[in-house]
Each structure stands twice: as structure tokens, then as C-alpha cells.
Amino acid sequence: MNLLRFAYDNLTRRPARTTLTMTAISLGIAAIVALTAIAWGFEASWQKANDARGTDLIVTRLASENTMPSPFIAEKVRPALVNLPHVRQVVGLLSEMLTVSYDAPPMFVFGWEFNSYLWEHLQLLEGRWPESRNEPVIVIGTLAAELLHKKTGDMIEIEGVEMPVVGIFQSSALVENGALILTLQLVQQITDKTGKVNVLNLQLDSSASDSDIANIKQQVRDTLPGYTAITSGELVSQNAVVRISKAMSNATILIASLVGALVVFNTMLMSISERTREIGLLLALGWHPRTVIKLIVSESAMLTFAGGIIGIILGVLLTRGLEHIELMRGKIDAVFSFPFLLGVLALSIVLGIFGGLYPAIKAARTRPSQALRQE
């Protein structure tokens, strides 16, 4: 007979209450898992897109807090960049989130400079690429094709302009798979942003070191007031959507943890007050008060541990479900790393220990003579 076995028996003697508490804990943990995985996945997916393109540095307007960096005239900035050491290409990019079809959610429309290195990492599955800088044609990612029910040869209307789909491509980045890509000039025309881009991508030569990159950043800061050069990782972590989703996930962790701890706290308090006589008996039989504390804390930690496991499973299922909702498709690419899930499990055990500590101490202070008098 050991303590954990006894604790387990104590939980199973009140199956309804145990189930209810476990459900509450698991819902909180599921919310934590889903929101955090989505927030991180969102960041990772953008990061992947930038990495796949082979972009080393990105030049944008300083302090652009919008979901997309705000557009600027490319030619005002480009001359200062092309002559910097190690810079091989400076490529403009204009991205928009547009409603393309009434039965599909808003989608990313990217304008990429014709003939630039950006196109190189995409894999063409069918059709062809645009053949000139202002040919009015579209290529779409596999996921976009699926969401829009389009194949090569079909027409798509963007901001009142009808254009044929000439190719379908695949990318290692989910964001790009769900996007429509046109030449930069075309997107500038359609959205009335002639000459404008919202980022300039710098590709450096392979000899560029970290200190060269730092050097370029410094020069941009010095010579281009109002602009900043950052790595794709920095751009992504500054992105407002990434920041909001991370803040939401942090708030969820905090609130769900608090609620979870309060729920076990309440459950254990109820449980020990029902068992006053029994706890008095344990003390009379020679249990050390410390052993009583261990018992109650084990019970509450077991409760939250089980809730944590169920919550993780629920959270993963919930996220997978969300990924399949039309509105969310192609925008979240949740990441469930093993250390993350292990961390969540550890968190749920910690909740149990914290929630159970006060009830446990209270139980250990039971006066056996009084407790045993209760009938």
C-alpha cells in the first residue's frame, strides 16, 4: 500500500466530482495548447516563408505597426542599398490581404519583382510562370487553388481586374501555398500603389558574415532616416498579428492557470472538509502531518496531471480542427513541439501542487480529537 495508490483511490471514490474538476482543468489546458501552438505556428510559418525565399535582410518603414509594413516608394530607397557591400540583389515586394472570391476568406496577394530571386524557391506543379513584368496573369499556390476551386486557365478577379491563372505552384511555406502571386508592377497597378513596395528584400553574397549584416543594418539606420533593415526573424516577431497572437496566448496561459489552480483549490477544500474525520483518524494512527500534506497534494497533482493529458489531446484536436475551417486555412500552421507539450504537462502538475497546498496544510492541522468526535 503506498501513498499514491491511496491518493488515487480517494479520487475515484467521488467519480462525478473528479471528472468535473478534470474537465475544467483539461479545457483550460486545451485553450493554452491551442492558442500557444497557433501563435508560435504563425510566427514559424512567416519565418519559413522568408527563409525559403533566401532573403537575408528586409528593409521596411520604421515603426510600421500594421499587419503589413506600410508601403513606400521603392526608388527613394533602392539607390542607397544597391551599393552597400555584399548586397547582391534588392528586390521589391508588395503584399496585400484581399477578398478574391465571395465564397472564400480574404487571401494574401503578393506582388514579386519579375525575374528576381524570390521566384526561385517555388516549385511549379502545372502551367507556367508570368513571362514579362506586366503580363496580366496570376500564379497560385496549391492551397489557394483548392480554396478558390481554380485550375490553370480559369479566371480570377482582383480589385475589378480579371486575369487568368497560368500556373499552380508549391512552396515549403504554408503562407505562400495559400497565396496568389503576381508581378510587382501588376499589383502596384491594381491597388493604385504605383512605384510602391512594403518591403525591399536584400539578398547578400555568400561571403557576408554576421558582422557584415550588422554593418549593413547600421548603415541603413544612418543613411535612411525612417527606415530599418532587419532580419526576417525580427520582422516576423515585430509583426502586429504575431505580437497580438502571442499576447493572447500569454494571457490565456495566465488566466487558464489561475482558473485551473482555483478549481483544484476549491475541489480539494471540499474534499478535505468531507473527510475531516478520516484525516483525524490518519493522524491518530500515527501519520505525520507531512504525510497528510503529501497525500492531499498528490491527489490534486494527479487530478491536474490527468486533466493536463486530456487537455493536451483536446488542444491538439482543437487546433487541427481550426486549421480546417475555411476562414483559417493557410493562415495557421500550428507547432506542437515535444518540449512545449512537456512544459504544458509540467504546468498542469504545478497548478495541482499550488491549488492543493493550502487545503493540504489545512488538513494537516486537523485536531484529531475533534475530528474523531464528528459523526
Binding site: 500500500m1 501513498l3 493522524l283 491518530a284 494512527l285 500515527g286 501519520w287 474523531l372
Partner: protein, 222 residues
């Protein structure tokens, strides 16, 4: 072996005097019955001997050592005292064997506890009931499980508060026989609270109480 000096236990800021100047002495191996009308302080005295309560005044001595010098009360209870209660106080979710093992839970160094428990249950005539739950046992069987539990750590004393109070006379006799038997086998000292004159007559000595005071039997007759 056990002595009290001017022991008092008050409740409600002195308005209830459960014990009021009790001086008794109990010797090793003795079987002492404590009798008296309801509310005279019998359970209170037993609780003080068992360290479940602290006296308001006075002192208790175990082998001439004052209780107030005990470092670890739970250790003292575990090693020296076995409790038996009128209402059994078994844990309903544990089997017979599990209940007997409760005092050993949380003590990882105790390796042969299960063997000791099964041996004790065999002595109680319960070898066929090891995996029954309390709800499946008769009153007499339950009390024998409680006695096995009280003996699991080889205590010096058994403190029994009306152990036959909830039993019919057949079961009561059986339980008393078991206790008497164990007393001889394990050279136990027994302090038993009882209402029943027949039970009290089986004891070596009867301590009579009234209104928190001892009226007879506080010392062993020479």
C-alpha cells in the same frame, strides 16, 4: 509505565471541565477498564493518553518521561499506541488488508508490512476476508480489522473507546476474546473505556470516573 499528574482538560474557556485533576497510574501489561456515566470524561482521558489532545493543566508520563518532552507526537502514536474506536473508523474505499496497512502508508522503509498485516488478520480469523471492503463485513469482523490495524506497528498500548459498544453480545464476546488473546501474545497494556459491567469485570482493574474526577481504582491494589 503510564502516570498522570493532576490532569485537567477544560473546554469553552473553563466552563466545561471534561477532566478535573486526574491522577492515575497504569502498569505494563495491565488491562484497565475505565467506567462511569456518559459525559464524565472517559474519552477525554483516553485522548490525552493517546496524545490526540493537549491537557489544559497537569502532565502525563510515559516510562517516567513527561509527554511535554516528546519531540514527535506522530512518531509516539505510531510506535507506542494502537487505537480502537466504537464506530470502527475503517476507510470504506480500502479492503481489509488495505485498512490494516493504513498506519504504514508513507513509510517506504517498511518492507514486510504486508506479511505482518496478513499474519495479524489470520490471528483475527479473517484470512478469508482480506480483499473484502468494510461494507461487506459484519460489525464484529470490522472491529477485528480495526484491532489488526491497531497492532500493525507493535504498540505498547491499546487504547480502546467502547470497542464493543456497537456490537451484539456474541460479537462483543468474540472481540473481547481476541483482545485478551492478543494481550497475552504481545504483552500489551490495555486501557478500555466501557459502559458494560460484564466487560469491566474482565479487566484487572476498574477506574471509575464521575464529573471529570476519578472516584475509585486510580492505583493498583497492593
Amino acid at each position: 509505565m503510564l502516570r498522570t499528574h493532576n490532569l485537567a482538560l477544560h473546554f469553552d474557556e473553563g466552563r466545561t471541565k471534561a477532566l478535573d485533576g486526574v491522577d492515575i497510574e497504569i502498569f505494563e501489561g495491565e488491562f484497565v477498564a475505565i467506567t462511569g456515566p456518559s459525559g464524565c470524561g472517559k474519552s477525554s482521558l483516553l485522548n490525552l493518553i493517546g496524545t490526540l489532545d493537549n491537557p489544559t493543566k497537569g502532565e502525563l508520563f510515559f516510562c517516567n518521561q513527561p509527554y511535554s518532552a516528546l519531540q514527535d507526537l506522530s512518531e509516539f502514536r505510531r510506535e507506542q499506541i494502537g487505537f480502537v474506536f466504537q464506530s470502527f473508523h475503517l476507510i470504506p474505499t480500502l479492503t481489509t488488508l488495505g485498512n490494516v496497512l493504513v498506519p504504514t502508508i508513507g513509510r517506504s522503509s517498511d518492507h514486510n508490512a504486508i506479511d505482518r498485516a496478513s499474519d495479524l488478520l489470520k490471528l483475527m480469523g479473517l484470512e478469508s476476508r482480506l480483499n473484502h471492503f468494510p461494507g461487506q463485513l459484519s460489525g464484529g469482523e470490522r472491529q477485528r480489522v480495526a484491532i489488526a490495524r491497531a497492532l500493525i506497528n507493535d504498540p505498547a498500548f491499546i487504547l480502546a473507546d467502547e470497542p464493543t459498544g456497537s456490537l451484539d453480545s456474541t460479537n462483543a464476546t468474540h472481540v473481547l476474546d481476541v483482545i485478551a488473546n492478543m494481550r497475552l501474545k504481545k504483552s500489551l497494556t490495555i486501557v478500555m473505556v466501557t459502559h458494560d459491567p460484564v466487560v469491566a469485570a474482565k479487566a484487572d482493574r476498574e477506574i471509575c470516573m464521575c464529573d471529570g474526577k476519578v472516584i475509585s481504582g486510580s492505583r493498583r491494589n497492593p
